[in-house]
Amino acid sequence: MAYPENLRYTKEHEWVLVEGDTGTIGITDHAQSELGDIVYVDLPAVGTKIGQGASLGSVESVKAVSDIFAPVTGEVTAVNDALTAAPEMLNQEPHGGGWLVKVKLGAPDEVGKLMSAAEYQAYIGA
């Protein structure tokens, strides 16, 4: 799967899409592929304040439960409730319909330090 140019990536395999002062956060195709079939997603409540690198929730596959680390600092403004009923969206559309949360960016400067699509692909050896 291609890694979209308009996303920024972390070493922990999350991505963030910045639109104005909003960041949409998800996990990468590589991450979902490593986790295998995802069966449950645990997400924070709207209004939760999270710092960059802190755990913002977890995803559970048949193999393991893994923390999701916030790629950026911010306050949660929306969560993808559709994942509760259909966690398989994370496997099917990791860079789109499988987004996890939207945050109001607290420190927009952080985004520039994340990896580009090319850098991330080099990082995972894709």
Partner: protein
């Protein structure tokens, strides 16, 4: 070639609820020879008239139901059960014979101590034996299982640190740890910090040195670790922790590699748990319950759960006066019937026998490792102790993963190994034969694994769609996890 399994008649079995019809029963009570009492009045209105939907079946129906279900099962009494880190060893029948001794099987925990001296001696002796085997100073037998033992052990750490004025904030765990370790730390109110493994699969001592500080309460280490590799620098790990006033906790899940050869108390461990249902051959799971004794060094002894069995003037007593104790963690003295079996195992073997069992467990794991090394990718060159860990790197290019190989192994008549653990090994196959297996059985297992490796090359779909010889084909584990059906409804 599949040598251990044949097709075999297995009857279908409904749910007991579906067999029910009103009035059937599996008991017969004698005529009442005391005055009748109205149960509703005696129970102050709390008595139930009936349990809604409770199945009514005859004795033979109940017996057939459970016997048929038992034929669906796989057990150590049927064949090899190489589930890594679980130590699925054979449970010798002598354990059962001893546990059925009338005075032990029918003892009541509220009996006067004069009447249960033998039971108290079993407890006292088992504590002493486990202390000697682990090189620790004192033992509690109360915890009911390994995770319960972990929790008890870390509560002891907290109690000791609180008595020194500061319970501290975090517990360190290696990235190869059992998932129960960080869960235990969290349950005891600590945050968790991961310590990476080095290229040999051992704790990265430099990373530990950088992470341990005055906020560190303890580190939880499994030794040998979940790769089956002995932590060569365990002395240094202990030294780094102790220098900062932190403690070293050992998860005893893999103690079957050490009994009679190496003692945690001698390599710097302050507190540890044992799994009697692993190392000391008491039944696992459904045949359980388990037992997770905790062994400590002298500085933690005052905090052990109460009560404790003590010997005074040749007589065993139950000591309740322990002002610093963390309290009870289990009713009475724990799962006593399990404790009897473990003591029977230890005494039947004696010291040399236990050491021999450990050596055989290590030999068996290395025999498998050596014979499968050309067929499956070994994770580390470090020597294996009682279990060996491969990855599915040679098979995954064909689309076959560790879970598929495990399911195909069922067709060959073996219980699967542990799949996808430890998490630091991508596509792990974790194999622990224990000392139970003979060379003949190990050779059958090795042949089966080699045969599967060939199948992956020639017909990967055969492996990906396994098992084929079981009464139920491959189940949809993902659907079961996503949409679990947790109760029966008519």
């Amino acid at each position: 070639m599949i040598r251990k399994t044949r097709l075999h008649l297995v009857q279908n079995e409904g749910l007991l609820f579906e067999e029910s019809s009103p009035g059937k029963k599996a008991y017969q009570l004698p005529d009442l020879d005391v005055p009748a009492v109205d149960p509703a009045a005696a129970l102050d209105g709390q008595a139930r008239e009936e349990i809604e939907g409770f199945p009514e079946v005859s004795e033979v129906e109940a017996i057939r139901h459970f016997t048929r279900l038992s034929t669906y099962n796989f057990a150590i009494d049927l064949g090899m059960y190489p589930l890594g880190s679980c130590t699925m060893k054979y449970n010798p029948r002598v354990n059962e014979a001893v546990a059925r001794t009338e005075g032990l099987a029918w003892a009541h925990p509220y009996a006067p101590v004069e009447h249960i001296q033998g039971c108290l001696e079993v407890i006292h002796r088992l504590e002493a034996n486990l202390a000697e085997i682990t090189g620790m100073d004192a033992v509690t037998l109360q915890p009911a299982a390994g995770a319960h033992g972990e929790w008890t052990g870390i509560m002891l750490v907290r109690a000791l640190l609180e008595s020194r004025g500061n319970p501290r904030k975090k517990i360190l765990v290696p990235d190869s740890a059992h998932g129960t370790n960080p869960a235990t730390a969290a349950m005891c109110g600590y945050s968790v910090a991961n310590i990476p493994s080095n290229a040999k699969g051992m704790v990265d001592v430099a990373a530990l040195a950088a992470a341990v500080d005055e906020d560190t309460a303890a580190m939880m280490v499994t030794n040998p670790n979940t790769l089956g590799v002995f932590e060569e620098q365990i002395h240094e790990v202990a030294r780094l922790l102790h220098a900062k006033g932190a403690l070293l906790y050992m998860d005893g899940a893999n103690m079957n590699a050490l009994v009679g050869l190496s003692r945690p108390g001698d390599f710097g461990v302050d507190v540890m748990h044992l799994n009697l249902h692993k190392t000391f051959s008491t039944p696992h799971g459904g045949g359980g319950p388990g037992a997770g004794p905790v062994a400590v060094k002298r500085h933690l002894e005052p905090f052990l759960p109460s009560p404790r069995v003590v010997r005074r003037d040749g007589r065993f007593e139950v000591e309740e006066n322990q002002p610093l104790s963390i309290g009870k963690v289990r009713a009475f003295h724990g799962n006593f019937g399990v404790l009897v079996r473990a003591l029977a195992y230890i005494m039947a073997h004696g010291g040399p026998g236990l050491r021999r069992a450990t050596a055989d467990a290590i030999l068996n794991a290395n025999y498998i490792r050596t014979h499968l090394a050309g067929y499956y990718e070994l994770h580390t060159e470090a020597p294996s102790m009682h279990e060996c860990v491969f990855s599915d790197d040679k098979q995954s290019p064909k689309g076959v993963r560790t879970g598929d190989i495990a399911k195909r192994l069922i067709d060959y008549g073996f219980h699967p190994y542990t799949v996808s653990f430890p998490l630091i090994v991508h596509g792990a196959l974790m194999i622990e034969p224990t000392e139970t297996e003979s060379k003949q059985e190990l050779d059958l297992f090795i042949d089966a694994m080699k045969s599967i490796a060939r199948e992956v090359e020639e017909d990967p779909q055969l492996v990906k769609s396994a098992p084929h010889r079981t009464r139920t084909p491959r189940v949809d584990e993902v659907l079961a996890a996503r949409k679990p059906v947790l109760r029966w409804r008519p």
